[in-house]
Subunit: 525 residues, 2 copies
């Protein structure tokens, strides 16, 4: 495939005029060709204008047509074949098997949203028929459905160059909801972005949709991203990345003349609670398994276990010892970009220099650029409660073990935590009561609470919640993974006494979409 | 009933120490006793502390217990009898029949939420069972339910001293979701607030709930309200009132160390589109009916028809003439407060002084203080598109008729509108195509689109949307009236591989709550 480095605006490919972006192979430091040309705020406006002009038409596509489109995108991505995998590996430093798996997840996600669109439950149709004879006042006919918010600006993540980038979760859920999408391509994998962006362009054309349904822009600085979030035709945003970047864009979204929802998934250290009976029975095995989760993908997951909490004793000692041993032998993996590697090195150094933190082990240093040398530290529960800085996310394979005096201190640590994507209990049957006591805190703090697993690994399904209280995300009322993500881009509209000829299909008499609607308080079966 | 003018903090009644609030009968200008004592930020913190300590327990009350509580509140309000109606009439200037109707709506609303709580659909339970043999990776067991966000700060509205005040829609939906509530009492009807607040206190006690489930504070300035929205234990807010007040509190909610959702219902002018065939057939009748809606409750409804759009011609002339005639004879009704009356007089004067606006008619001036003299103006579509100031809400019985050259100009006016709670079509069969062309704009602009009715009158039911794009509200993804309002105060949590003994009831094996859950993509029947 011939990459051109152009901006994809509707069905056009346009050479950008504002700076250039060069992809770097983080494993070798080598610069990859071609150069990608950066867009201008003017390009962003053009993409938004096209998205706006496509909106009224796209949001009223039939459920079948919209589902077909999502499936067509999946097919076009698969048709890219090995070239996509090769480019994504080169740009991300991630292993081939991981990228292949991620491609499967990306396409599976698009197809799952197609199923969700077809089922139509997201329309949440509610009908309260007219009661002309009601006393003291008659009731009018009221019918509710959900409609798309408007064009959505999507900012992909570096750590999932496929599943959370151009055709990733935010794009899939926004398109499923009926929202045109303008993507700000990630500068760490611009070639992967172009390949996937062109696949979506082809799907738009094949499905006969208005071209503005999808555009993708490169940004050599921050101007394009800022212009997108500030554009009056953009009605929502999706972002996965750093807290700093997320908050900057959130601020723009909130301070526009018309504020818009902005879903930023930002930072999480995913506490793991080692309960006493589990620690006693299998402290060593837990320590080893923990390092497996910690090192996965060089620790570059939003759900990486960055904090492990247990009560001091032989069980915790065995855990720490086994974890240290496993860590010392772990190979350094390539990180996603020089920038992420630098931030990791700084974060680890900050922890190492803290007088409240003891270094337990480091992994092998590795050779070559941008390698992630794993790191493990210990601090006391008291210090973690007192010093918020110890909760700072270090993106990469670094974790802090928190040794507590007793169950009460474990609870205090849990209560002192910021909002999280996940919270994990390692527990045996003897821990049931202690776990029950901790659970209300954990579900207040996290979007996903699990037992006897590790937080890395996020299933794309109906029940998933990849979200959580601030600062894990900017909006705990939603998830960015799984089919419930569609609700982020919808709003309810009520139709009162509209002639049936004018009613949208979802709320028409006769139920042409065969939905299970809530009619007069009863669910249709 | 003996009013004491105290703050209601948990089960206590406490004399405030920060200023006083005096209720005024707007119909007579007479000051009503007693004096109400204002709270301090310290009182707000105390109420929030109690709410926080009640939260984990209250949010896990059984569906039945929570529904019983809502019904107990309704019964306690009804038990207040005529005394409540008398006080509310004295404090609001609203007629007795209106207050009686509003009491019915308030209690009906609490009972409707009780039904919604019991049905349990709001839990939105989704289960993806484990697939241990799935290739290439097994699937873990994932179960999602919704839980309450946390304690909610509620700011009541002046124009619904019962249905949108202490035990109004925001309180009912927050309590239904499992959120403790701290109300900032409205200074225009503090006695009504105290009576209803004490009724809720009694319901809390009778139901054996933790006292922090409900508190209510008077505020002689803005300190208490600001302290509530800024308190770290408050996790959401609900507000109905002016754009200025709503935006000030929204700013606090967004700029806290942990930002929270803040649902402000602010301003709307509720455009009514007079379609050509309807105008031709019944311009006169429409003009008369319009004035009926405009004058209802002295125009003090969020859904008051403040803008009427039609194409110039004999039909529109007949409409204007009939409306002017009806308006000239309309009695001036008492407005809710001197402050609201002053703002109305200023708003009408601003319109009257505009060189783009022609005054068509005024109502009777009335005698006595705070009377609302209705007002009707005309401007051209061209001027309304060009000058946003003509869209400013004038709270009260004032409306602007927009005379357009043709259908294209009507569309331009519609597109130039800010977000609205409602948009109305007056249409006959011959208007179907023209209405169809306008509909995509109207549903983008408003939360409720209606035909051949008037926007005043908001049914409390499953299908209602009382919400809409900014600045009608701060969050178009929700409604503040109707059962869907419960979703404002919920967030999803996913439970992964939790032992069944630890799972919340909603997601337990065996479905003890008999919910229709989404299991493996299929809805249980």
């Amino acid at each position: 495939m011939n990459l051109t480095g152009e901006l994809l605006i509707g069905q056009q490919a346009v050479k950008g005029t504002h700076g250039t972006i060069k992809a770097v192979n983080p494993a070798t430091g080598e610069t990859l060709s071609p150069e990608f040309s950066g867009g201008t705020p003017q390009d962003a406006r053009r993409a938004c204008e096209l998205a706006w002009s496509a909106f009224d038409s796209y949001r009223e596509t039939s459920l079948a047509a919209r589902a077909d489109f999502l499936e067509a995108i999946a097919a076009e991505i698969e048709a890219l074949g090995d070239a996509l995998v090769e480019r994504a590996v080169a740009e991300s430093g991630l292993p081939e098997g991981r990228i292949q798996g991620e491609r499967g997840r990306t396409c599976g996600q698009l197809r799952l949203f197609a199923r969700t669109v077809r089922a139509g439950e997201w329309l949440d149709v509610r009908i309260d028929p007219a009661l002309p004879d009601r006393q003291p006042l008659p009731r009018v006919d009221l019918r509710q459905r959900h409609i798309a918010l408007g064009p959505v600006a999507v900012f992909g993540a570096s750590n999932f160059p496929l599943a959370f980038s151009v055709a990733g979760g935010d794009t899939a859920s926004a398109l499923a909801a009926g929202c045109p999408v303008v993507v700000k391509a990630h500068p760490a994998h611009p070639g992967t972005c172009e390949m996937v962006g062109r696949a979506i362009q082809r799907a738009v054309a094949k499905c006969g949709l208005p071209e503005g349904v999808f555009s993708m822009l490169h940004d050599a600085g921050f101007e394009v991203g800022q212009a997108l979030v500030g554009d009056p035709r953009i009605k929502a945003g999706g972002f996965t990345g750093s807290r700093k970047g997320g908050l900057a864009l959130l601020g723009i979204a909130q301070n526009r003349p018309e504020p818009i929802p902005f879903y930023a998934e930002m930072s999480s250290i995913n506490p793991v609670f080692l309960m006493p009976a589990a620690l006693e029975a299998r402290g060593k095995a837990l320590g080893e398994a923990f390092v497996g989760s910690l090192n996965m993908g060089a620790g570059q997951f939003c759900t990486n276990p960055g904090l492990v909490i247990g009560i001091r004793g032989a069980g915790l000692d065995a855990f720490v010892e086994a974890a240290a041993e496993a860590l010392k032998g772990s190979q350094a993996q390539t990180m996603l970009s020089p920038g992420i590697h630098d931030a990791y090195v700084r974060g680890v150094a900050t922890l190492a220099e803290s007088d409240k933190v003891r270094e337990v082990a480091r992994g092998l240093p590795g050779d070559g650029p941008n390698r992630c040398q794993s790191a493990l530290f210990v601090a006391t529960g008291e210090d973690v409660v007192a010093d918020e800085a110890l909760q700072a996310e270090v993106f990469g394979a670094s974790s802090l073990i928190v040794s507590c005096r007793d169950a009460a201190e474990v609870k205090r640590v849990a209560e002192a935590l910021e909002g999280q994507l996940t919270a994990t209990l390692q527990m045996d049957e003897g821990d049931l009561e202690a776990a029950r006591a901790l659970l209300p805190t954990l579900e207040r703090k996290a979007g996903r609470v699990m037992a006897n697993g590790w937080p890395t690994g996020v299933e794309v399904c109906d029940a998933m919640v990849h979200g959580g209280p601030y600062p894990a995300t900017s909006d705990a009322r939603s998830t960015s993974v799984g089919t419930a993500a569609i609700f982020r881009f919808l709003r309810p509209v009520c139709y009162q006494d509209l002639p049936d000829a004018l009613r949208p299909e979802a709320v028409k008499e006769g139920n042409p979409l065969s939905l299970k609607r809530l009619v007069d308080g009863q669910r249709e079966s």
